[in-house]
């Protein structure tokens, strides 16, 4: 099953490589990874999506918790949560395609953020499934380039991941 694990860790050199290294070292899987500092500049928040059965996910969270740089973590998929990813896509936009791209972007509530006579750059946010669906819709028209941020997420309701 797919899990989204969010990690608060020390904003220190080497911390990221320890987390990423752990995954390859223990033969765990990384589907996507996203990391940036938080409002507290000493902490970074890293979100990783991974796939594994319960036993594997238990091992992943245990091993992550063992890393000295990891302060706290939560498996967001254990409860209700909001999952978002941002994607920028360059698609071919010539003649009739220009309208088709615009229409599809509207349906997905995506925005066209840059335009040339032959290319549209589309920005879209949503969960990974929505982004995948948009790519599928664009495929016949011609995808030129894709940049995805990887999944970020947060729990619904009052639950908070902080120190």
């Amino acid at each position: 099953m797919r899990h989204i694990i969010s990690i608060l860790m020390e904003n220190e050199p080497g911390a990221l490589s320890r987390v990423v290294g752990l995954f390859s070292q223990r033969n765990f899987n990384i589907e996507s990874l996203n990391v940036a500092p938080t409002e507290d500049s000493t902490l970074s928040r890293l979100t990783v999506t991974t796939v594994g059965d319960d036993r594997v996910i238990e091992q992943i969270t245990k091993h992550l918790n063992k890393l000295i740089d990891v302060v706290k973590l939560v498996d967001l998929t254990e409860g209700n949560h909001i999952e978002r990813e941002l994607m920028l896509v360059k698609v071919k936009a010539l003649g009739a395609q220009r309208d088709e791209v615009k229409r599809t972007a509207d349906i997905f509530r995506a925005q066209i953020v840059d335009v040339t006579p032959s290319v549209y750059t589309v920005q879209i946010t949503g969960d990974a499934g929505k982004l995948d669906a948009f790519l599928q819709a664009m495929a016949p028209i011609g995808i030129l380039e894709v940049a995805r941020t990887g999944v970020s997420g947060i729990s619904r309701g009052d639950k908070i991941l902080s120190l």
Partner: protein, 574 residues
């Protein structure tokens, strides 16, 4: 307020931390630190002949004393040479701090002379690592390093020190930090009481219980408590290779050690048990054999300080995260005044165990007669007798390691010192050196083979310089015995590169360093040679003992089988 350079802070810190010996080798990036060590007398530096030996020596000291070992190496090759020793300590959860010189900060990343990203290289084999970024942080970082190395589940910590951090011209305030706190690191101090109660109820109701304990009991200094608990209950106990001596092996309740080359009765008892009480052990593949066939009728209680060890390979029915010592103490207080609920079933269980013991009594190996080649097992048995089972015994890796573990009987913990997890050839001799320096009055023996010994024999020179009187027992079979055994069993005796041609004349070699070497080829010479060797109390003596190269280590678990599937000799299997 005291102003010190980074290098002087390191020397001062080591003194304040109570470090007695450091093992190391100088080089460009570490020279400021070496100069600081030169100007003090509190911390003794032992100059090894290869950095790997420094880590093994510090490791041996740590295993014998329970305190962290300290290593000092220079950047680049100095640091990479230490890698095998760091990995060895990591696999066996041994506390160690490795101080590595590094090229000056402004050169980092430029492929400077003797530059290696040692923090990167060692990342998967350390508990944690630090890079010093300002000289003023040296005392705190070092304190954190020692705290992390020794607390929780212990392990090696690397501290990378760029040369400019130790420059003699830059001085900063030095205060010894008595305590440090890391917000993200709080090792558990006790187990969950509810879980412990549940475990104790299961223990009292058990009909066929076995204690299975590992290195965690030794590093957790919980051996007395364990012995008390096991004796109160009267249950059988088997330990891992790393846990040898945690419970006196001469006691009736001890089944010896378990696993691939463990005793017949311990593997049989594990397989037939209805309850396994695992403490400070990690169900590794050399113990469990095939996990899908592992102990089919047993419930499992698993106590470990590291949550990631629990249910890693074998699912625990009652997991308890906590240090062995406090969990065992809590178990004792719950057991107090109570009796096991099924005395009849337990006495039947013991009958069964005694039956297994009886089955193999006197059949463990065929002792040879005078005139035939010595058997390695006989050598270890004789060694145990001559030293009254009281020596520190280190080993290298291979057949001799298993024979040492099988035939030397340990009643005390921290006495059998071996590379269990990583299986590092070359470990034994430097480890013995590290122990002997801190335990000068004890007999320290390195049981080795000619293959392993040649991997670290340059340390003879270190022993000469510092007068280290270890005894080296070389079980010389002229081949890489364990490799050869596997080739006999699995490759139709095609001995691909498992023989040792062109062995040196060890006697001459040892004598070249000014030590005594005794060659033993005949039965009748063994005991006198051992007596003679140990009469030289404080001298290094090398015993080159020729043993039968055809001998195999048994029992030996059959691959993919359960714990009870064992070869018992070249012709018998369970």
């Amino acid at each position: 307020m005291e102003l010190l350079s980074g290098a002087d802070m390191i020397a001062r810190f080591l003194k304040d931390e109570g470090v007695e010996y450091i093992y190391g080798y100088p080089g460009g990036a570490a020279l400021h630190i070496y100069d600081a060590l030169f100007r003090q007398d509190d911390v003794k530096h032992i100059l090894v002949r290869h950095e790997q030996a420094a880590t093994h020596a510090a490791d041996g000291y740590a295993r014998a004393s329970g305190k962290p070992g300290t290593v000092l190496v220079t950047s680049g090759p100095g640091a990479t040479n230490a890698v095998t020793g760091i990995a060895t300590a990591y696999m066996d959860s041994i506390p160690m701090v490795v101080l590595c010189g590094q090229v000056a900060s402004h050169l980092i990343g430029e492929d400077a002379f003797q530059e290696t990203d040692i923090v990167g290289v060692t990342r998967p084999i350390v508990k944690h690592s630090f890079s010093i970024r300002h000289p003023s942080e040296i005392p705190t970082v070092l304190k954190k390093a020692y705290y992390l190395a020794a607390s929780g589940r212990p392990g090696p910590v690397v501290v990378d020190i760029p040369k400019d951090m130790t420059a003699p011209t830059e001085r900063y305030e030095y205060v010894y930090p008595k305590k440090v706190k890391l917000r993200s690191y709080n090792p558990v101090t006790r187990g969950h009481t509810g879980q412990i109660k549940k475990a104790v109820e299961m223990m009292l109701k058990a009909r066929r219980p076995v204690f299975y304990t590992g290195g965690g009991v030794v590093t957790g200094q919980a051996c007395e408590g364990l012995t008390d608990l096991v004796q109160r209950l009267g249950y059988p106990i088997t330990t891992t290779l790393m846990g040898i001596g945690a419970y006196p092996q001469s006691d009736r309740q001890s089944l010896g050690w378990l696993g691939m080359h463990g005793s017949y009765e311990s593997n049989m008892a594990m397989h037939h048990a209805d309850l396994i009480v695992a403490i400070g052990a990690r169900f590794d593949d050399r113990v469990t054999n095939n996990t899908s066939k592992f102990c089919p009728t047993a419930k499992i209680i698993h106590v470990d300080i590291d949550p990631s060890s629990i249910s890693k390979t074998v699912r625990a029915d009652v997991p308890i995260v906590g240090p062995a010592g406090s969990v065992i103490d809590e178990m004792i207080s719950l057991v107090q005044g109570r009796e096991p609920a099924n005395p009849d079933a337990l006495s039947e269980w013991w009958d069964k165990i005694e039956g297994w013991r009886e089955e193999r009594r006197g059949k463990l190996y065929d002792p040879s007669e005078p005139g035939e080649p010595l058997k390695p097992q006989q050598v270890v048995e004789t060694l145990c007798r001559v030293t009254r089972g009281e020596a520190f015994v280190t080993t290298d890796v291979g057949q001799h390691q298993m024979f040492a573990a099988q035939y030397y009987k340990f009643d005390k913990p921290n006495r059998f010192i071996t590379s269990g997890g990583l299986g590092t050839m070359g470990f034994g001799f430097p480890a013995a050196m590290g122990i002997k320096l801190s335990y000068p009055d004890d007999d320290v023996i390195c049981i080795t083979g000619e293959g392993s010994f040649q991997m670290m024999m340059q340390e003879l020179s270190t022993c000469k310089q510092f007068g280290v009187g270890v005894k080296i027992v070389n079980l010389n079979n002229g081949s890489l015995g364990m490799v050869r055994q596997w080739q006999d069993l699995n490759y139709k005796s095609r001995h691909a590169h498992s023989y040792m041609e062109s062995l040196p004349d060890f006697q001459k070699l040892i004598e070249a360093y000014g030590f005594t070497a005794l060659k033993v080829e005949r039965h009748e010479d063994l005991e006198p040679a051992l007596e003679r060797a140990f009469a030289h109390k404080d001298e290094l003596v090398f015993l080159d003992i020729y043993v039968d190269p055809r001998e195999h280590v048994y029992p030996m678990q059959v691959p993919l089988g359960s714990m009870r599937d064992m070869l018992l000799s070249k012709t018998e299997r369970t």
